[in-house]
């Protein structure tokens, strides 16, 4: 069958002759054959907008063209997603930065705090903080390659720079003050308790990630209701542990930049969590044999 590919402004870019049973990824390969600039992960096809819709249905790679009711003469709208980069590539670089940058201020005070007299020894809390920070980001990098299963393969390349700026920037900002020669350590017992609890939160976060990773069997693409552990009470339990981890870290080091980092992260995670929760509630509406999504906190009981 012949399909018309339109640009977002309505011009016909191409006409493709495809098999109705072909998958969307085959369509994308064909389109790539015509337009060498747009490799498949850069392509996004949507059906024409139906009345009542805000935007047209996005075609998923694994589905067939016939699944969308496309017939001869059908129209598709094309969007160029821009240069793409792999999710795990971005995750690696955004986590590698903090792992490399934070310890610099700990190990090289002569260069990073010139004109300042560095004391002979770091305080215990400063040593534990650098250890915790490095453990956290090492854990994240390992998870990226062994635990996480990504819903999408790629993201726009601009995100690499944006995300790295955020993580690397904050790493430097927090580290500069926690490892500063004029750092004032808080009560040692409080710091130790906070860091100990933070470590437990990290383990909770790891377990949550493993649960999420096991939700889908290989090849499955549908949404699942997370269950077990804290997920029975909170939709985004992984974020809950993450936020607590950073709040406790901040409590351990008692530094404003650490709190700012925790709050910024929490706000972003809240946005994601609300969207995910809404999606799950909408998908699992209890109709047509689907289970009903249970009543749960979204991300941070008892607030939200």
């Amino acid at each position: 069958m012949k399909l018309e590919i339109l640009s977002r402004s309505g011009h016909i870019i191409a006409t493709l002759d495809v098999n109705p049973d072909a998958s969307v990824s085959e369509l994308k390969k064909k389109f790539y054959g015509l337009k060498r600039k747009y490799y498949p992960s850069r392509q996004r096809f949507t059906l024409p907008v139906k009345p009542g819709e805000k935007r047209g249905t996005v075609l998923e790679d694994s589905k067939r063209l016939s699944d969308y009711g496309l017939a001869d003469g059908g129209k598709l709208e094309f969007k160029d997603l821009g240069p793409q980069i792999g999710y795990s590539t971005v995750f690696f670089w955004e986590y590698f930065g903090p792992l490399a940058v934070y310890p610099l201020f700990f190990f090289l005070p002569k260069y990073l705090y010139p004109h300042l007299e560095a004391p002979q020894q770091h305080h215990l809390v400063q040593k534990l903080a650098v250890a915790y920070w490095c453990f956290h980001y090492t854990k994240r990098i390992i998870e990226t390659f062994t635990v996480h299963k990504f819903g999408h393969a790629t993201m726009p390349i601009f995100n690499l720079f944006k995300n790295c700026a955020y993580y690397w920037g904050y790493a430097a900002y927090v580290s500069y003050f926690v490892n500063h020669p004029k750092y004032t350590p808080p009560n040692e017992k409080v710091s130790l308790t906070c860091l100990g609890l933070a470590l437990l939160m990290q383990l909770g976060n790891l377990r949550s990630h493993i649960i999420l990773s096991n939700l889908r069997k290989p090849g499955e693409k549908d949404y699942k209701i997370p269950r077990g552990f804290l997920f029975n009470y909170v939709t985004c339990a992984n974020y809950t542990f993450e936020i607590w981890g950073w709040l406790l870290f901040s409590g351990a080091v008692q530094s404003i930049p650490a709190y700012l980092f925790a709050i910024t992260g929490a706000l972003q995670m809240m946005q994601w969590a609300i969207a995910k929760h809404k999606r799950l509630v909408k998908t699992f509406d209890g109709k047509d044999g689907r289970p009903k999504y249970p009543r749960r906190w979204i991300i941070f009981p008892p607030f939200i």
Partner: protein, 297 residues
């Protein structure tokens, strides 16, 4: 009109009057060949009032009275207030600079158009005068660049005083394990200013092209629609005239087939066939008109 609309009209009216008074004071002072600090003395109090009050706009967005983003509104308010309340106000030497006059003058010149336009589009909806909409979406083109140069000039001029007096700053060691240098902060703000400003300016340019062409098309498009509800007054008569008169070429239907098919909400409001003089929804769209304009701030 609903009470919220009455409130918005009043708010915009008061702001318009306030800024008009500021502009008047500045122009008078300039004509009288006054020195910058004298001009600040005459216009400063009022500017403080209107600029301070404009924080309400964030509240309006937060409670949903207008659908702008409260965060955007707050950031813009903070930008201006930072320059005005934290740099200009407390530093007498900075007040002696012509940058401050230029800055307050361009602010006032822009606001004296923007607030009346909001007021009338909220109150009158489609019957908001086209020339006022045109002014609002055109005068920013020269005024905003001048304004941003003035703001930056003022900050640069203030840097030496900020370095010396170190206001709003925190030094190590302290219990918060944090240091903040306002002087350094302003240097960073200065570096970021052109980018932040460009985001705003280019967004306004984009909404300008949507808004102003849309107004022209609105009139032509009307004749294709029949029995459009909410149509009234001048607009209705004009449409009929196009139909009746054969010596006048009706404007060609706008070439926007694809836009017509798509139904994205944002575009619907702009490309909506129910445009009136302001390029906004019909009678019930007065608040939307206000809303649209706010979004384009």
């Amino acid at each position: 009109m609903r009470i919220s609309q009455i409130y918005l009209v009043l708010y915009n009216a008061l702001q318009a009057c306030g800024w008009a008074a500021v502009l008047g004071a500045i122009l008078y002072g300039v004509l009288q060949k006054g020195r910058p600090e004298q001009l600040y003395n005459s216009a400063g109090f009022l500017t403080k009032l209107v600029q301070g009050a404009s924080l309400l706009e964030t509240l309006h967005a937060a409670v949903g009275l207008v659908p702008s983003s409260p965060l955007m509104s707050l950031m813009q308010w903070m930008g201006r207030s930072n320059v005005f309340f934290l740099i200009l106000e407390p530093n007498p030497q900075v007040r002696m600079s012509w940058w401050s006059v230029l800055m307050m003058g361009t602010w006032a010149a822009a606001e004296v158009i923007r607030y009346p336009q909001y007021m009338l589009s909220t109150a009158l909806g489609e019957r908001c005068p086209h020339w006022l909409t045109w002014l609002r979406y055109t005068m920013f083109i020269p005024l905003y660049p001048v304004g941003v140069v003035a703001e930056m000039g003022l900050m640069v001029a203030a840097l030496p005083y900020l370095a010396a007096s170190k206001p709003y700053s925190l030094e190590l060691p302290n219990a918060y394990n944090w240091a903040f240098s306002y002087h350094r902060f302003i240097q960073i703000v200065l570096a970021l200013y052109p980018f932040l400003w460009w985001q705003l300016y280019s967004a306004l340019l984009r909404s300008r092209s949507k808004k102003l062409t849309q107004v022209g098309r609105g009139r032509g498009r009307r004749r294709e629609e029949e029995g459009y509800p909410g149509e009234g007054g001048r607009e209705g008569k004009e449409t009929k005239e196009y139909g009746a008169r054969h010596d006048v070429q009706p404007p060609p239907p706008p070439a926007r087939g694809s836009r017509g098919q798509r139904n994205t909400t944002q575009r619907t409001v702009v490309a909506d066939s129910s445009d009136g003089g302001c390029g906004v929804g019909g009678c019930g769209g007065c608040v939307r008109a206000f809303v649209l304009s706010r979004n384009c701030k």
